[in-house]
Symmetry: C2
Subunit: 214 residues, 2 copies
DNA sequence: TGACATAAATCAAACGATTGTTTTATAATT
DNA sequence: AATTATAAAACAATCGTTTGATTTATGTCA
């Protein structure tokens, strides 16, 4: 049976490794960091990765699992994705869309999911090692297709989803254009508001173009 | 003195390696591909990389040099970045902005620069191994700051630049949301038009918000 | 309570495989 | 014959992983 004090220490060092790994993976990519560097940063022995997760690939999965859990938790707390968009009025649908997107910004920039974690995830998605089909994204797609009265697989809907999500992700994905240029280490409350306002501006333009009242 | 026939063969195999390397770097990242894999794909011996570029890092620079050259060439042919935005009327400034952005789309999706190359570049920029300060981007920033009558280092200008560029890049950077979902291998003429139209829609919304006439 | 046994957590060292690079030898063109 | 392009093999360094030994906290029995 595991002891109490040592078990706490174990958990702490496990979290330290997760944190260091996420940071370094985000900075240099999965293949760009060795486990020695990770463990040095986390002040742990290299064997701990095998001990905890079996392998470096396992650590990778561990990080992903952590993200999925956090996101699920966030959605459960702040959103209700059970609502069928079709049962709402157009105005309600649009307000719901604003709410979901506001929450997406909050999730990414509000500290609920670390920037490192999100950067890592978007990177990995680009390498097609993983597929990003989070419940929130799936719901967004359905919601947008309902509002614009088109099929979810319609080219227009997919592009709209890409354009909208890119506006939310881009300050995170293109740090050379944003954080670095802004001479900041992280995003502020003010930055969050800029992103939220911008998404709304873009959405309103979209709606107006399609002749949908707001 | 170098012979003629063999020299041609040499150049061909050099180009084959560049092409394979670009493709694989874009797919798996710089550290995710070994030179053996690259040379196998390019049907060349591994020593050729040292022979041509000195090292794997040198090959990387070779690819970057290739990009810079292509972009410079494109800009020279299709754009005139010598025009001082301040000397133009507001309407001319805005039309110029549309032209530059249309050309950016054309450059990225029109085959002038391969998608692989651009994906690789955006990736590397994220890893902060390189800085993306192309003449076109620098000019865009100046143009936007002139139109919105703000300093180029203003937070608003930087965010606007990020939001605009992300709309152009995003279908390339988030393939899981676009190409794959569209069941396409590459982007069509129609896709280009969608992207161009979308950028214009967004810009018009931006201008209207700031009370600038169009 | 104090000595011992047990199991878990951590360490340093070494493993074979793979990395980028270099060397040496061969083939081909002028 | 001379030079250049290609091939195969070997190089040291680093990779992720495993091993065996050591430290540490807890439970048990005298």
């Amino acid at each position: 049976m595991p002891t109490k004090v040592r078990s706490d220490e174990k958990e702490k060092s496990k979290q330290r490794i997760l944190k260091s790994a996420t940071k370094l993976f985000a900075q240099k990519g999965f293949d760009g960091v060795g486990i020695r560097e990770i463990c040095k940063d986390a002040d742990a022995n290299i064997c701990m990765i095998s001990y905890f997760w079996g392998s470096k690939e396992g650590l990778y999965q561990g990080i992903l699992d952590d993200l999925i859990q956090r996101q699920t938790e966030y959605v459960k707390t702040f959103l209700n994705l059970e609502i069928e968009p079709e049962t709402l009025s157009k105005k309600e649908q649009i307000n719901l869309l604003y709410t979901v997107l506001d929450n997406a910004v909050e999730m990414l920039y509000g500290g609920f999911i670390s920037s490192d974690l999100m950067k890592f995830l978007l990177q990995e998605q680009q390498h097609q090692r993983i597929e990003l089909n989070s419940p929130m994204l799936v719901y967004l797609r359905k919601l947008i297709s309902t509002i614009f009265d088109k099929d979810v697989c319609d080219k227009d809907i997919i592009f709209k989803l890409v354009f909208i999500m890119s506006q939310i992700n881009s300050p995170l994905v293109l740090p050379a254009f944003s954080l670095k240029q802004l001479n900041q280490k992280e995003f502020s409350e003010q930055d969050k508001e800029i992103i939220k306002t911008n998404v709304k501006l873009y959405l309103q333009a979209l709606l107006k173009q399609e002749g949908i009242d707001v």
